[in-house]
């Protein structure tokens, strides 16, 4: 039931962006074209730096680490490395004291680590290296590019940097904050400019081309604003 002033070409143009074939063709042609013409730099990973208390607890870490051996054997090796070191991992996590949740997941040919932690991530990784560095070495050995940063006890700074680089960019909860992120990367911190909001789809597409894996939003929290120790103390289970 379309209004009568709509012509054939109008309907065609409305239908076009929804069509699968068009979307695929656009990915091969339009996207690389605009990537060359209006390039975007990949945005860095990890939670957005902030000084406020609530923003520094229950921070999300999303590590995606591509395996060297991209096959069921490679995935099995990774699964085995984690399983064999489960006790060490738990002991390490208990002693670091600032991790709410952590899990290892194999997705495709990647070994991923998703965790929720408090405070600055460099401190938690560093304390982690001190307690379970051997586990990191065992796992990272299986990852592309991992040889450069192990043994992690001897290459602490490089390992921390490597973790940061594999931590996903967290697309902000609002589209406008995403635009501000891109502007900040280009050194544009102005309060106002001559923007074009209709360019949002292109900016998003190009960023997702530069950063293939991203976290959408900073995540949902059922009880935001509290650290691990605060929750444990409140529940009376010792911290």
């Amino acid at each position: 039931m379309m209004p009568s002033d709509e012509g054939l070409l109008d309907r065609f143009v409305d239908w076009l962006p929804k069509n699968l074939v068009f979307k695929r063709v656009a990915s091969w042609t339009l996207v690389p074209f605009w990537a060359r013409w209006t390039p975007v730099k990949p945005l860095p990973g990890g939670p957005h730096p902030s000084f406020q208390h609530g923003d520094n607890v229950q921070c999300m870490m999303n590590l995606i680490m591509p395996l060297k051996i991209k096959s069921p054997i490679g995935r099995a090796e990774a699964a085995l490395a984690i399983a064999q070191n489960k006790d060490a991992i738990y002991a390490g996590l208990n002693n670091v004291g600032t991790v709410h949740f952590a899990r290892f997941v194999i997705v495709g040919d990647n070994i991923c680590m998703f965790s929720v932690y408090d405070g600055d991530f460099t401190n938690y990784i560093r304390d982690f290296i001190a307690t379970i560095g051997s586990v990191f070495n065992a796992v990272v050995e299986l990852v592309e590019g991992g040889d450069d940063v192990i043994p992690c006890e001897e290459k602490v700074e490089a390992f921390i940097q490597w973790v940061h680089e594999h931590d996903l960019y967290q697309v902000p909860d609002t589209a406008t904050d995403f635009l501000r992120d891109q502007e900040a990367l280009n050194g544009d911190g102005a309060a106002s400019g001559n923007d074009d909001l209709t360019l949002l789809p292109r900016k998003m597409v190009l960023q997702l081309r530069a950063n293939a894996n991203v976290s959408l939003g900073s995540g949902y929290r059922a009880y935001p604003g509290f650290s691990v120790a605060q929750v444990r103390k409140q529940l009376g289970i010792g911290w």
């Binding site: 039931m1 209004p3 002033d5 709509e6 012509g7 070409l9 109008d10 065609f12 143009v13 409305d14 076009l16 962006p17 656009a26 339009l30 996207v31 605009w34 902030s50 000084f51 406020q52 208390h53 609530g54 923003d55 607890v57 229950q58 909860d173 609002t174 589209a175 406008t176 635009l179 501000r180 102005a190 309060a191 106002s192 400019g193 001559n194 923007d195 074009d196 909001l197 209709t198 360019l199 949002l200 789809p201 292109r202 597409v205 939003g217 900073s218 995540g219 949902y220 929290r221 009880y223 935001p224 604003g225 509290f226």
Partner: protein, 342 residues
């Protein structure tokens, strides 16, 4: 205290931008309906705020749901901000109001911004974008503007977009309005009070907070592609409440030092402490909609002791604007508390 003349100019700026004058009615949020219900605070609400309606006793409430657009033409199905104005009736005959909309962030920071916005975002003829320009948009990976609804000949979208392109603080509000859509029911949308208020706890601690209503039935919008229906929300809510009550949770987010307390264009992050302050249960649509929907006059600054306004300039301006508008349409004045006469 906002200058009365500023308040009058604000109302006039809003009225000037309407498709048609609506004497005796609200200039914006003209179409609406009144609903009655009850609010019961959670068991922790009183530890954060001494206001009477948070002490745990059930209080009766009057709510008015509305469509944001001004004018007498009803277009429930058009993409539009919805309002939920709530009056908590306190035992001593006074009341506390909480005015919320489905738009979580405002698009201007203060009164001067608003005047400039009103100048730029004028009601303009709105036509379908020609197909060749739409094609050009698609090839540039840009977002073409939406098609006008049947019978939609004018709107402010182009002006608002122009303003947002030039003012970064306005972008979130304008962007969210463009995507807001139409809810399938007034009871299936989230409403946000936007401005920061300051609540006082029994131990004297004052906290900056923002309020939101979360629908227990969940948020659901109509399909974007379907042809919009002009009148359905009132009947939907009447039918719904005949079968079972509609409930909302009142969520209160506590701000931290460094958050934008007085800037309604900036949301607070999801990492702030969120307190459940209570449950609102809507039970019936009163017969006398003239009293329950039209003559009732809310004011965002009508607050029980224990809740105060922050220094948000738009909140401050709304005090005067709502009073001026009430007078102009002959709305019912409400007995203010003596200490509220600031």
């Amino acid at each position: 205290m906002v200058d009365a003349s500023v308040a009058k100019r604000l109302v006039e700026a809003i009225i000037d931008n309407l498709p048609e004058p609506v004497p005796g009615r609200r200039p914006v949020h003209t179409i609406g309906m009144g609903v009655k219900g009850k609010f019961v605070a959670s068991d922790v609400a009183r530890t954060y705020c001494i206001a009477e309606h948070f002490n745990g006793q059930s209080v009766s409430v009057s709510v008015r749901f509305s469509n944001g657009l001004g004018g007498l033409e009803q277009h429930d199905g058009w993409s539009d901000v919805r309002g939920m104005a709530t009056r908590f009736h306190l035992p001593d005959g006074t009341a506390s109001d909480l005015i919320a909309t489905t738009l979580g962030e405002f698009f201007v920071r203060n009164v001067d911004d608003f005047f400039e916005f009103a100048k730029v975002a004028k009601l303009e003829p709105y036509r379908r974008r020609p197909w060749w320009l739409k094609l050009l948009d698609i090839l540039q990976l840009k977002m073409p503007p939406r098609d006008p609804y049947p019978n939609e000949t004018r709107n402010v979208d182009a002006g608002a977009l122009c303003y947002a392109n030039r003012h970064r603080f306005a972008q979130l509000g304008v962007f969210q309005v463009s995507l807001i859509g139409a809810p399938v029911s007034y009871a299936r949308a989230s409403y946000h009070a936007v401005h920061t208020f300051v609540v006082t706890a029994p131990d004297g601690v004052r906290r900056p907070v923002r309020f939101s209503w979360q629908p227990v039935a969940g948020v659901r919008n109509t399909e974007l592609t379907a042809v919009p229906c002009d009148k359905y929300l009132r009947k939907e809510l009447e039918d719904r409440l005949r079968r079972w009550p509609a409930r909302f949770m009142l969520m209160m987010t506590i701000g931290e030092a460094g958050d934008a307390l007085d800037d309604p264009t900036r949301p607070w992050p999801g990492t702030r402490i969120r307190v459940v302050m209570g449950t609102l249960t809507l039970t019936e649509v009163p017969e006398d909609q003239e009293a329950a929907g039209e003559r009732i006059s809310f004011n965002p600054c009508r607050l029980a002791p224990g809740i105060e306004v922050s220094k948000d300039p738009i909140l401050e301006a709304r005090l005067g604007v709502y009073e001026v508008s009430r007078e102009m349409r002959g709305g019912c004045p409400f007995r203010w508390r003596p200490d509220d006469a600031k």
